[in-house]
């Protein structure tokens, strides 16, 4: 067998005594689509940075085309044919498409004078190479995420990249856009470009990759042809333990009661129309639909952030007006927002500050000041109940891992003692181990009588946890699946993603 086109050998890297990478190997053949998968903190990003010349490895070497290239600078890595597309894409919103695509080329040429014609030509050619068309003079800031991604890829192409590394490339793309991205990756493959696809979305990994390398705790724990793995096996290798997903069983006992929440003909122009459903005690109701289908808008509307134009909301049989989050909380409704970092947490503040922020009023002492002992006890109580791993609740939230941060958001809303808990993307950006814990917490809450609405892109998550599913398309409920035991992930995925064409026909 010939030498692989790209390989890293025995790479180790420590940061202040913590071993981020421990003697890892990775090889990629020419034109291969290789996937690197691992939980958060498993060393994926560190390896990318070593390959890209941003970190210097303590030991080990990087080879491309048989040449040893370790100890190089980022620009040398680019010259060697390695292009990294970071999660944030590194595009310039204030510059045009043409300039964004050509900027590496311009810098690489070493010329100090800008040649605008060359910039346009480079950009045009790069876009043509991957079969895309975007107006060259458009400002990148005006483009949707998927287009920005194409620009980042085009930029890589201008540099005759031999290996393109995509770090969590799909995290902000819709399913449709992901498909499109994959078609571009396949096109690059035809040209002999290798892709290292870093992700933790199983579905995508299985769809696109030929080989999968798995990292755990800074070590390479396996490298397999994709065909030899299935998601169960992969998650077992990734987490080092067998994570089995049994389904949530809803004990049909409460249907005769007055429902916790009834929504009747809720409509909002351009967002959703005639949304009607009921939610009973102990239910986990899934809402699925494409991004943009209106599912998030329905959730925010129930929480008073996006008032509906018409329709009725009943809480325990009583009609209520929900004009703002305060009224929602007063009616026992809580919302865990989609965007954890932006809307769910004060990242710089302490865990306890975050947890008690929704219930400050109840912590007031007679003097009108906050009772600090009570505050601390409440926070500690929640931290213990949700098993938040931290030495102290006075640590900043940003010091926690994604999974633990999400538990803080959960705690914050659970502290309001809601009857109805709406979870929008409860495990976005959370690795598989923590995901399982969060699912367990959610199920326990439901079993204790809370009504839960779960919105998610992840079909498997919905299937595993929900006893009933509403399928939303273009702002309408197009289907209700009452018995989730009778449907598997593939069917549901088809229902969600093919709904568009089905509707049109």
């Amino acid at each position: 067998m010939s030498e692989p086109f790209f390989h890293v050998e025995n790479i180790s890297k420590s940061f202040v005594g913590v071993k981020a990478l421990d003697a890892v190997d990775l090889s990629i053949a020419e034109g291969e689509i290789h996937c690197l998968i691992g939980e958060n903190g498993s060393g994926k990003s560190t390896l990318i940075k070593v390959i890209g010349g941003i970190h210097k490895p303590d030991t080990g070497s990087v080879f491309i085309d048989g040449k040893c290239i370790d100890g190089m600078s980022p620009i040398e890595a680019i010259r060697a044919g390695i292009q990294i597309i970071y999660q944030d894409l590194s595009v310039f919103p204030n510059l045009t498409v043409a300039e964004n695509i050509s900027i590496n080329q311009s810098l690489e040429s070493g010329q100090q004078v800008v040649n605008w014609r060359a910039i346009r030509e480079t950009a045009k050619k790069a876009l043509a190479d991957i079969g895309e068309e975007i107006a060259l003079d458009e400002l990148v800031g005006n483009l949707p995420m998927a287009k920005k991604q194409i620009i980042a890829i085009s930029r890589a192409v201008t540099q005759n990249a031999k290996l393109i590394i995509m770090d969590e490339a799909t995290s902000s793309l819709t399913n449709e856009e992901v498909k499109h991205l994959f078609s571009i990756i396949l096109k690059l493959q035809e040209k002999g470009v290798s892709t290292l696809f870093v992700s933790h979305k199983f579905g995508e990994v299985f769809e696109i990759s030929e080989n999968i390398t798995i990292f755990r705790d800074g070590k390479m724990v396996g490298s397999y042809p994709t065909t030899e793995l299935d998601s169960q096996r992969l998650s077992a290798i990734m987490t080092g333990r067998e994570v089995t997903f049994d389904r949530y069983i809803y004990k049909d006992k409460n249907v005769d009661e007055v429902p916790l929440l009834s929504v009747r003909n809720l409509s909002k122009r351009k967002q959703f129309s005639n949304i009607s459903f009921e939610l009973h005690r102990g239910e986990i109701l899934g809402i699925v639909g494409l991004m943009g289908s209106g599912r998030t808008e329905i959730a925010t509307s129930l929480f008073g952030l996006n008032k509906a134009d018409s329709g009725q909301i009943l809480v325990k049989g009583m009609p209520v007006e929900i004009n703002n989050p305060q009224e929602a909380i007063a009616n026992g409704i809580a919302l865990l927002p989609e965007d954890r970092a932006g809307q769910g947490l004060y990242e710089d503040q302490t865990i306890s500050d975050n947890i008690v922020v929704t219930i400050l009023k109840s912590l007031l002492a007679k003097s009108g000041l906050i009772d600090t002992a009570k505050r601390k006890n409440t926070a500690e109580d929640w931290a213990a109940r949700l098993n938040i791993k931290t030495p102290t609740v006075e640590a900043a939230v940003k010091s926690l891992s994604g999974g633990n941060q999400q538990r803080v958001v959960l705690a914050k809303w659970l502290a309001t003692e809601p009857d109805v808990f709406i979870l929008d993307g409860p495990t976005i950006g959370i690795d598989i181990g923590s995901k399982h814990t969060i699912h367990t917490i959610i199920r326990e809450l439901a079993e204790k009588g809370m009504g839960i609405i779960m919105i998610s892109d992840e079909i498997q998550e919905i299937l595993d946890n929900c006893n009933r599913i509403l399928l939303i398309h273009e702002g309408r409920i197009v289907q209700e699946i009452n018995d989730t035991a009778k449907i598997d992930a593939e069917d549901l995925f088809k229902l969600v993603s093919e709904r568009g064409s089905f509707e049109a026909a």
Partner: protein, 355 residues
């Protein structure tokens, strides 16, 4: 509708406002719309415009500079003092000294900002006080009035590149200040549009992390930006003393905010990355016309502050109000119904226009 067009629009709006205001002044005081008055206006505002261009560059790179007026006055006052001490009577010498001081002080800003990576507002607030204190302590506090100024300075202030005759036979004309300003505008435009450093300034202002990753030498570019701003401040310092024929280390300091306001009013985004020289120039014209001519409307000069403030607030409402409305619209329409056909407003934008 996109950001760039909006700014274009803002420039046009400003221009229209300037025209309306000028027409008003002309109606009330016909003396306003004479070539002579226009020449006067240009002479009086060229220096401010040059300082504004330095600030514009700093804002573009994502920073802010409140020390430029101090740097200008330091350059000026040191130059005049050195000239008098050495008995040199040469305008080029004045420029050489003032510019050297400007670049040096700009470099000090740059060291704090680019090497030590400190926030620009705090650094320039600090250095402006530091520079000014040092100037007053080590160079002096004495005001040097017209009688004692080197002759070359006064001659430079009167030098005209175009001389016209009034009806009564006396002369007036277009000051050399205007020429200097035009040269600075052209030079800066060329740098921004046609050099990698210039594009780097836009890139850093747009996304500094990305600029670093694609291989811009961010530290070098920032060093350039602050030195260039110091260079321009040095030029302005000499023009300023030639204009008012008196060198006083207390002058100018304190007027930096209205210059920054002029730049922002001209459409330069305070967070960096977006802005044009033409917008900056219109902003300066607007502020100058307001400053010089409210009196012609019969208003006390105190109104000037009031109106400048009012216009800035209105300008911000127009630009940022439009932006946030646009964002809201996009969000609701994109999220609402069509995920696939996300709005791609392919409008005719100019390729990273600088002017």
């Amino acid at each position: 509708m996109n950001i760039k067009n909006l700014i274009k629009k803002q420039e046009i709006q400003l221009l229209i406002f300037v025209l309306i205001f000028s027409t008003m002044i002309t109606i009330i005081s016909p003396a306003f719309l004479t070539l002579e008055n226009l020449f006067d206006l240009l002479r009086g505002s060229s220096g401010v415009a040059i300082l504004a261009i330095g600030i514009f560059l700093v804002l573009l790179s994502g920073g802010i500079d409140v020390s430029s007026t101090t740097i200008a006055i330091a350059g000026q006052y040191i130059a005049i003092n050195v000239m008098m001490a050495m008995g040199v009577n040469n305008i080029w010498f004045a420029f050489a000294i003032s510019i050297s001081v400007g670049i040096s002080l700009g470099a000090i800003n740059a060291i704090f900002i680019s090497i030590l990576n400190l926030p620009t507002l705090i650094v320039t607030l600090g250095t402006s006080s530091l520079f000014h204190g040092a100037l007053l302590e080590f160079v002096g506090t004495r005001s040097i009035n017209s009688g004692n100024l080197p002759r070359a300075i006064k001659e430079f202030g009167k030098y005209k590149i175009l001389v016209l005759e009034r009806a009564n036979g006396s002369e007036y004309g277009l000051s050399v200040f205007f020429l200097i300003m035009v040269l600075v505008v052209i030079l800066t435009w060329l740098i921004l549009r046609y050099t990698m450093i210039g594009r780097g300034i836009y890139a850093i202002g747009g996304n500094q992390d990305a600029a670093e990753r694609v291989g811009f030498k961010v530290k070098k570019i920032k060093l350039f930006v602050y030195c260039y701003a110091g260079f321009l401040a040095g030029i302005m310092g000499v023009m300023h003393v030639a204009l008012i024929r008196s060198a006083n280390p207390q002058y100018l300091v304190g007027s930096e905010l209205s210059i920054i306001a002029a730049v922002v009013l001209g459409g330069t985004r305070i967070s960096g990355g977006v802005g044009t020289i033409s917008g900056t120039m219109i902003g300066v014209i607007l502020i100058t016309v307001l400053e010089k001519n409210l009196v012609l409307l019969g208003l006390s000069s105190y109104w000037q502050k009031f109106f400048v403030g009012l216009i800035i607030v209105m300008g911000v409402i127009i630009t940022y109000g439009d932006l946030s409305r646009k964002k809201r619209d996009e969000n609701s329409s994109a999220k609402a119904i069509e995920p696939s056909s996300q709005v791609n407003s392919a409008s005719q934008v100019n390729k990273g226009d600088v002017l």
